[in-house]
Point group: C2
Chain length 345, copies 2
């Protein structure tokens, strides 16, 4: 694969409904407009709020436009009901704009269920895809791909709860295509999550998926990996169903919380420990960098004909800007086409 394309692209940002409020998302888009001349940001949400925040934030006016949307879905709302009740919710308006070609990709930090559902309503599944998957990038001990990323990709992490063998095969192809484009990893190592490395381990649909992924031409398949391989980063792409993936991803978050609670505890506990922590500051920062989801920005929903990157609900401006860059990269490099080619093999 040659150098990555940098084509001008438009990214629609659903600015509403994130944990830190619209200002944080708008500031992220503003930052992006200063950093990335090839990206145009289309901000979708309450126009008055957007204008106010932009007026107070340094940005490149020619790379930002605004589309008013009168409603939004809150984090604690039930996705299906809320979307039905609020046809003008920002996430629906933004998805519609992308579907109509007004933008090349969608970024949101709002209610994940509502995002996935809005995509399902406005986008089309790619030919051969029965179920879309929500993927997540997470920090690992080992480094990956041409950019030496300390991240792996895991999917599905909750677009749906169950998966057939067919779905798992599709997830493998989609995850590989994404890693190829986003991590500049020409031959991503793909693995199936199971309860043992032998090909016969796991529930029936996992065993069947193993045999079929192993037979895919052009796929660098490691076979099964186990839970221990997730933090290690044995594979570049870990394939599992949405229930297991969701549990794993949230466990990683819990571990991160635990490590930093222990560090805070050590800081308070004794002067000597505090001095020790200070001396380790460089090392701790390195761990923080590795386990900090903010720097890798977003998680793609894979399987639709349009690109959607879900930023974490607690994203600050920097994470939003990074999600925008990832969305632009996926769009410019025709992620959907790449997935279709993988599925056609």
């Amino acid at each position: 694969m040659g150098p990555m394309a940098i084509k001008p692209v438009t990214i629609a940002f659903d600015v509403m409904g994130s944990d830190h409020g619209p200002a944080e998302v708008i500031r992220g888009a503003a930052q992006l407009s200063l950093e990335s001349p090839h990206i145009h940001a289309l901000l979708v949400g309450d126009r008055a709020v957007i204008d106010d925040v932009l007026a107070a934030t340094r940005h490149s006016g020619e790379r930002i436009s605004v589309q008013h949307a009168s409603g939004f879905i809150a984090m604690d709302e039930k996705p299906g009901e809320a979307l039905a009740r609020k046809p003008d919710a920002s996430v629906s308006v933004a998805a519609r704009l992308v579907a109509e070609g007004e933008a090349d990709a969608l970024v949101s930090a709002g209610n994940t269920g509502a995002c996935v559902l809005a995509c399902a309503r406005h986008f089309q599944l790619l030919p051969g895809v029965r179920r879309a998957a929500l993927a997540a990038v997470y920090p690992t001990r080992m480094r990956h791909g041409g950019k030496e990323d300390p991240f792996s990709l895991i999917l599905d992490v909750g677009a749906t709860v169950e998966a057939t063998a067919d779905d798992l095969v599709t997830f493998a192809v989609m995850g590989a295509a994404y890693a190829r484009i986003i991590s500049r990893n020409e031959q991503p190592k793909v693995a199936l999550l199971s309860n043992g490395t032998e090909s016969t381990k796991g529930p029936r649909h996992v065993v069947e998926a193993h045999a079929r992924i192993a037979g895919l031409p052009g796929m660098k398949f490691l076979g099964n990996v186990e839970g221990v391989d997730i933090p290690k980063g044995t594979a570049d792409v870990v394939v599992t169903d949405g229930f297991v993936g969701n549990v794993c991803l949230k466990m990683l978050e819990g571990v991160h919380e635990t490590v930093f609670e222990l560090a805070q505890y050590a800081h308070k506990e004794s002067l000597r420990w505090r001095a020790g922590l200070a001396m380790l500051a460089g090392g701790i920062q390195r761990i923080k960098d590795i386990t900090d989801w903010e720097q890798y920005g977003g998680a793609p929903v894979l399987g639709f004909d349009r690109i959607f990157i879900k930023a974490h609900g607690r994203s600050h401006a920097r994470a939003i800007a990074n999600a925008g860059k990832i969305a632009a990269k996926a769009a410019a490099n025709e992620l959907g086409k790449s997935i279709q080619q993988g599925l056609a093999r």
Copy 2:
């Protein structure tokens, strides 16, 4: 519940097939014989090896006896085939002795699959139990029960891969009975692992199990917990199927490895970091204590009429001695009866 009973009990130790070899298991039993006057250890394995190690190890001769077994199952053998081919494997001989009443419980650090299968062949499932579960004790941020244990219990972690709603309900009852006896936790908080806290979240069998566990009298049911709650320790007992539980447990191992690899790296990297680590020694030791599975010894197989404690394959003597103590406690306090009472409700 009154104070715990300390009845004299006999524990059969399968001394063969662990990662560190029979000597380590024999030394664990020897240590136990010095520490716990109410426990008699019946060592099952190669008599020549056992006699040699005992001759070189301080122990209480009157609390140790030996039963020769000519074969053993190695870690990398397929459990079913190996058990069929080796009727005199130490784990089979030990399980038979327990089934015949020669010992009250079984401890092994060998091939997990072979252990569970040997139990299934020699022990009876308790009335009302359709599927046994392998439980595991793991370290958490929060403390639990009367002993302020920094551990939670998770089950099933791999006795079987799938579970019905019925099985999950049984796992909840069995886990609660075990926590009540081993952690002196009169009202253990039981939770079901899912991809969201709402009772409607998860695959169908999880949703159904939720409704049924919620209706059990005398059960302190927290409802669903998520992956983030596993390292946190929100629940005393986490209920899930063997596939998901196995992935979670191995993820915890992987995280432990990652943290200590990073600490070693910091140690090597710079003099200043090394000094910082030294100053934090007390705190790091505390983390090590918390995440060290050796001190909590073993994982029970629940659902049979006999007690079996699986020690980790990499157990050193101390972990083996602790597994023996746990087995003795479970036997003396009639774990099986307690489970049956829970299921009868």
